[in-house]
């Protein structure tokens, strides 16, 4: 109940309490949002003529997607898919394998301060760039093909997995860890018997989730030349073979749905 309305006596009707309690913050936020929207929409350069042009063009464009053509470039689609799958699996394995030591180092309750800072810096750096930007550089350095994609996805996996692992270790129950330490366990034994069992179920789930993400990402890395099904898609767009592009998109959606369903199932079983 808002006491203000009752006290002032203007209205005895009950009104919902607002989500943001402090009225000053609330009005400030509304005002700020209003000013921002006005500014943003004001500086938005919209070419209405081009947009109006776009509607019939869009209809033609979308109709050229149908019917999807699976046959003509089936060979290329299969090659792209295989590349994507190799990239996804190898990069997830390598990424997770590298993320474990870094994640251990980035947990505040495990690592000494200097190690902690270095590992956190590595994680922040690998996470701040979008995969595509990393991929552009990897393609420049390592040449076209799935190897550049593999490296990109590995780096991205390190950032993702390492950060979540570190946070999970920081949230673990200290009592169990203390109990193991009290038995006189060495550091590695302590890690193996106190820390690992606590974080393992969630980490397996996250590993499968990362596999899922990596496959999804591998579908776009091809646009900058890093191999995979994205390369097939990009080629199809460049050749104006939109029916093939539609086929590729449908395949990507189908596989992502399948992977998401299985990963959800496995994660539910593990946890």
């Amino acid at each position: 109940m808002t006491t203000d309305t009752v006290r002032s006596g203007v209205s005895r009707r009950w009104t919902k309490p607002p989500f943001i309690r402090n009225p000053r913050t609330r009005w400030f936020l509304w005002l700020g949002a209003g000013i921002y929207l006005a500014l943003a929409l004001g500086t938005l350069e919209v070419n209405w003529v081009r947009m109006a042009d776009g509607i019939p063009r869009g209809i033609r464009f979308i109709s050229s997607f149908f019917p999807p053509d699976f046959v003509t470039s089936w060979g290329e689609i299969v090659t792209g898919l295989y590349e994507s799958i190799w990239m996804t699996i190898t990069s997830t394995v390598v990424g997770v394998a590298l993320a474990i030591p870094i994640g251990l180092g980035a947990a505040r309750n495990l690592a000494p301060r200097p190690v902690y800072l270095v590992c956190r810096a590595i994680l922040a750096l690998t996470r701040s760039f979008q995969e595509i930007i990393i991929a552009i550089f990897m393609v420049k350095l390592f040449g076209f093909g799935p190897f550049a994609g593999f490296l990109t996805l590995s780096i991205a996996s390190i950032g993702f997995y390492g950060k979540l692992l570190a946070e999970d270790i920081e949230d673990m129950d200290p009592v169990q860890a203390e109990a193991i330490r009290a038995t006189g366990a060495k550091w590695f034994q302590w890690l193996n018997y106190a820390v690992q069992p606590q974080v393992m179920p969630r980490m397996i789930g996250l590993g499968i989730y990362r596999l899922d993400i990596n496959f999804r990402e591998s579908a776009v890395l091809g646009i900058v030349g890093a191999g995979g099904i994205g390369a097939t898609l990009n080629t199809a767009f460049d050749r104006y073979e939109f029916d093939t592009a539609a086929a590729v998109l449908l395949i990507i959606i189908a596989i992502v749905m399948f992977v998401e369903y299985t990963s959800g199932y496995v994660r539910k079983k593990v946890q």
């Binding site: 190898t90 760039f129 979008q130 040449g143």
Partner: protein, 271 residues
């Protein structure tokens, strides 16, 4: 827990033999899959380019310093555009995600059999197509520019926001809804007074979280012509102006870190 006899001494082991062998076998399969994938990938890699990479990296790194500091003055416009793409895209996504989420949640959907599958399909297809692919399609339809980027980000984010939101709706406390219903409230009133207050914190958290992700994503949309700082990045890389590239990368890092900080602050104050 298993105890084995070793020379008449009882030795504690974590698992008995059969279980341990099963785990080893699992590892064996996993390593085999990894090796096979690695082999196929390495067949498709031109290793001369890979061995060449360190020299290339040093070469590019030396060309990136000193950064061309003056260039930053021509970047303010595109930074503003990048932020707008992310913010307006998120706003569009939220407006579309809310009804989708209410249709997808088991306890609020008008019809479990007909409406819910449609809503779930919208969510999955929006999530499985990367914003870069959306941008690729939209640039072909609407022409290059910020608008294509905004819509691409919006379409990509609907699935993410709607998925998290409908999970939050399904987890609400049913007793509160029951209490509101018992007062004789209509369907919409139950929604407004029983359900919405319960999911508002989750809703605010999800929007800010997605905004943070979108800032990161909008930095690359320019690569396919959808506006933002990515346009300058790809132009600078294509023209081999590495001193500009380093400035752009720094700007991206700063933007991402600031947005992450803002989003973390907001989420902490909500939860």
């Amino acid at each position: 827990m298993a105890v084995s006899q070793l020379n008449g001494v009882k030795v504690w082991q974590r698992r008995d033999r059969a279980k341990q062998l099963k785990i080893w076998f699992g590892y064996f399969i996993a390593v085999t899959i990894f090796m096979v994938c690695w082999k196929y990938m390495s067949d498709r890699t031109i290793w001369i380019f890979v061995w060449d990479a360190p020299t290339q990296a040093i070469d590019i790194a030396t060309r990136m310093v000193p950064p061309k500091w003056g260039y930053i003055n021509s970047l303010w416009g595109v930074i503003w555009d990048t932020i707008n793409i992310a913010t307006l895209g998120t706003v569009i996504a939220i407006f579309l995600a809310v009804p989708t989420a209410f249709c997808a949640a088991r306890n609020t959907t008008p019809s479990v059999r007909f409406v819910r599958p449609i809503a779930l399909f919208i969510i999955v297809s929006s999530r499985s197509i990367n914003s870069l692919i959306w941008a690729l399609i939209l640039v072909a339809i609407l022409g290059p520019g910020v608008v294509a980027g905004i819509i691409a980000i919006g379409l990509r984010s609907i699935g993410f926001c709607a998925k998290l939101l409908y999970e939050a709706i399904e987890e609400i406390e049913p007793t509160q809804v029951e209490a509101i219903t018992a007062t004789g409230a209509g369907r919409l009133q139950v929604l407004a007074y029983g359900i919405v207050p319960q999911i508002l914190p989750a809703f605010a958290g999800i929007s800010v979280f997605r905004w943070d992700i979108n800032i990161r994503e909008s930095t690359i949309l320019g690569y396919v012509g959808a506006g933002g700082i990515g346009l300058h990045l790809s132009a600078s890389i294509d023209n081999l102006v590495w001193t500009q590239v380093s400035i752009i990368l720094m700007v991206i890092i700063v933007t991402v870190i600031v947005s992450e900080w803002v989003s973390a602050k907001v989420r902490h104050s909500i939860i």
